[in-house]
């Protein structure tokens, strides 16, 4: 990092420049045939069919939840092929529809300002020269599996595929903050991005972390994803990586790092993405006026992916089963599997350990009966937390983590 040109930190001018920068052709998107086939997410109560689409740039076959702004879900069979989710099938979630469609890597700047000694305007060429780290980490939407809540709740009606695992390459946020020189009295760091609300005065999407968390050496600014640059829809040219925390903090198209001398009291921290301040974020359906806190650390989860839910197979006395697990904010300790509704559990073998924030493969074998076999998977994480049998409920549809069941019919 030679000279950081503080004068380049003119946010307003830079953003306007990016918005208007013409790179190549900028014609209107042809309206491709969006719907290719339908997939049934099997959400309780129905209205669960969604089209598959390959119409989005940088994206292969995805479950289409919403075109505008994009909500794209990863099909579950993708998770059976590798613990790393391919970039072109990694889930996509945007809040606001004004998403820059052109990014010029020479003019893009990442601005660091606020309660610091030296405001910075960092070019991508400079970012690439900083000390590097690479880490595998699961990026999971706060509302992943919201569509499975009972009673159902409003919001994006995700199945289980609003998540993915990648090897993130980038720099430590701590190193960037240290270059700027955080002043005494800093409390939080707020992260902003290039996407914008489409209507005036609406709250721009920004999230904040406590200063000690931001400086823990794990939180990253990533420019690489599974060895390649990020797809634009996953946050090109760089995004925040907050290992072990829900995706709402993993700000995409990150271009603003603001050190705050007090807590962020704006909408997206103070009002949105709040969970009940109760064990497991659980309240009784219909509860109201409970205290809330910003969603934060993830919890253990696991899925069977070797066969789709509802699959009919020829009867055998036992079958191999496998899938993925995540520890949440720590590693996976063990995964057990049951085919009799949780009465009998069988040990599974864990696959390669790619790091404590990564998905981990599990494989095992369960006996079958003729008819429907409810196959359940249960993960314990290295903090000793196990997935509960009983689902939670909260009005935001956040933090589902109970044991999931995949029903296999042996005929």
């Amino acid at each position: 990092m030679d000279n950081f040109d503080a004068e380049l930190a003119s946010e307003t001018s830079r953003r306007r420049f990016l918005r208007h920068a013409a790179l190549g052709t900028a014609g209107l998107a042809a309206a491709p045939a969006l719907a290719q086939q339908l997939v049934d997410l099997k959400l309780p109560g129905g209205n669960a069919e969604r089209p598959m689409t390959s119409a989005f740039p940088g994206k292969g076959s995805m479950i289409l939840q919403r075109v505008h702004p994009p909500l794209l879900e990863t099909p579950m069979d993708v998770f059976d092929k590798s613990v790393f989710t391919p970039n072109d099938q990694f889930f996509v979630r945007w809040h606001w529809a004004d998403i820059p469609t052109s990014i010029d890597v020479e003019t893009f700047r990442l601005n660091v300002f606020g309660h610091v000694n030296r405001p910075l305007s960092i070019s991508l060429a400079q970012l690439l020269r900083l000390p590097r780290v690479e880490m595998a980490a699961v990026n999971q939407c706060s509302g992943n599996s919201r569509g499975l809540f009972q009673p159902r709740v409003a919001g994006a009606q995700w199945g289980n595929g609003a998540m993915g695992n990648a090897k993130w390459l980038g720099v430590r946020l701590r190193d960037v903050l240290d270059l700027a020189g955080v002043k005494t009295g800093a409390v939080q760091v707020r992260f902003g991005a290039l996407d914008q609300p489409v209507v005036a005065d609406a709250p721009d999407f920004e999230k904040a972390l406590d200063i000690d968390h931001a400086r823990d050496g794990e939180v990253m600014i990533a420019f690489g994803m599974n060895g390649e640059q990020l797809p634009l829809l996953n946050g090109f040219p760089c995004r925040l990586i907050v290992p072990g925390w829900y995706s709402t903090y993993w700000v995409k198209m990150l271009n603003s790092i603001e050190v705050l001398p007090g807590p962020d009291d704006q909408y997206w921290m103070a009002k949105a993405y709040k969970i009940p301040a109760t064990p497991g974020a659980n309240v009784a359906p219909g509860a109201r006026d409970f205290p809330t806190v910003p969603i934060n650390r993830m919890i253990p989860r696991s899925w069977m992916t070797s066969l789709p839910d509802g699959q009919t197979i020829a009867y055998e006395a036992s079958i191999p089963v496998g899938g993925i697990a995540m520890g949440g904010d720590c590693g996976v300790a063990k995964v057990d599997v049951s085919s009799d509704g949780g009465r009998t559990w069988y040990r599974t073998t864990l696959g390669a350990d790619e790091g404590r924030y990564s998905f981990r493969r599990w494989d095992g074998r369960v006996p079958l009966r003729r008819g429907a076999n409810p196959i359940m998977v249960r993960c314990w994480n290295t903090n000793g937390v196990a997935q509960p049998m009983k689902p939670i409920w909260n009005p935001g549809g956040f933090m589902r983590g109970n044991i999931e069941t995949t029903t296999i019919i042996a005929a």
Partner: protein, 160 residues
């Protein structure tokens, strides 16, 4: 996105004004129309690289959603009000919600997300939403916590 301090802003303007004016011409506050035609071959994307990793400039086209809300009472009102910020599918894929829940959602769109929806249109929009065929779906079945169909308005702020 917080605006940087006036000092930084001023310095930035001095440093960049010339470049920006040449580069972009007259600024406007929202998206400029796309050029109708490009006569020359597009240049290869610029890139930056260091220490064995490269980043290339990227330009994409996002699919346009021209889907509208299906016919029904007040479809004209919801189509006029509720397709620019988000696809109609956002509402069409929702589970069965009560009129109170729908009203709370429309109110949140107006008051929190600043959707330019006239107050006089709110009741018609809620009437359309509650009458969508998907709202008459079979009640949720399952074993989760003895579900109570009466659900309080979302106090979590939602989204995700």
């Amino acid at each position: 996105m917080k605006t940087p301090s006036p000092g930084i802003m001023a310095a930035g303007l001095i440093g960049l004004t010339g470049i920006i004016l040449v580069s972009i011409g007259a600024p406007s506050s929202r998206k400029a129309p796309a050029p109708i035609s490009e006569t020359s071959e597009p240049a290869p994307p610029t890139s930056v690289s260091a220490r064995g990793f490269s980043l290339a400039s990227t330009s994409v086209d996002l699919p346009v959603d021209d889907a509208t809300y299906p016919d029904g009472p007040h479809a004209d009102v919801i189509n006029a009000n509720c397709t620019s910020c988000h696809s109609a599918s956002m509402a069409l894929t929702q589970p069965a919600l009560s009129a109170d829940q729908w009203k709370a959602t429309v109110t949140k769109m107006r008051e929190v997300y600043k959707a330019p929806v006239a107050e006089k249109d709110v009741d018609a929009i809620v009437a359309y939403l509650t009458a969508m065929p998907s709202q008459k779906a079979a009640p949720a079945t399952g074993k989760a916590q003895d579900p109570d169909p009466k659900v309080a308005p979302d106090v979590s702020g939602g989204t995700g």
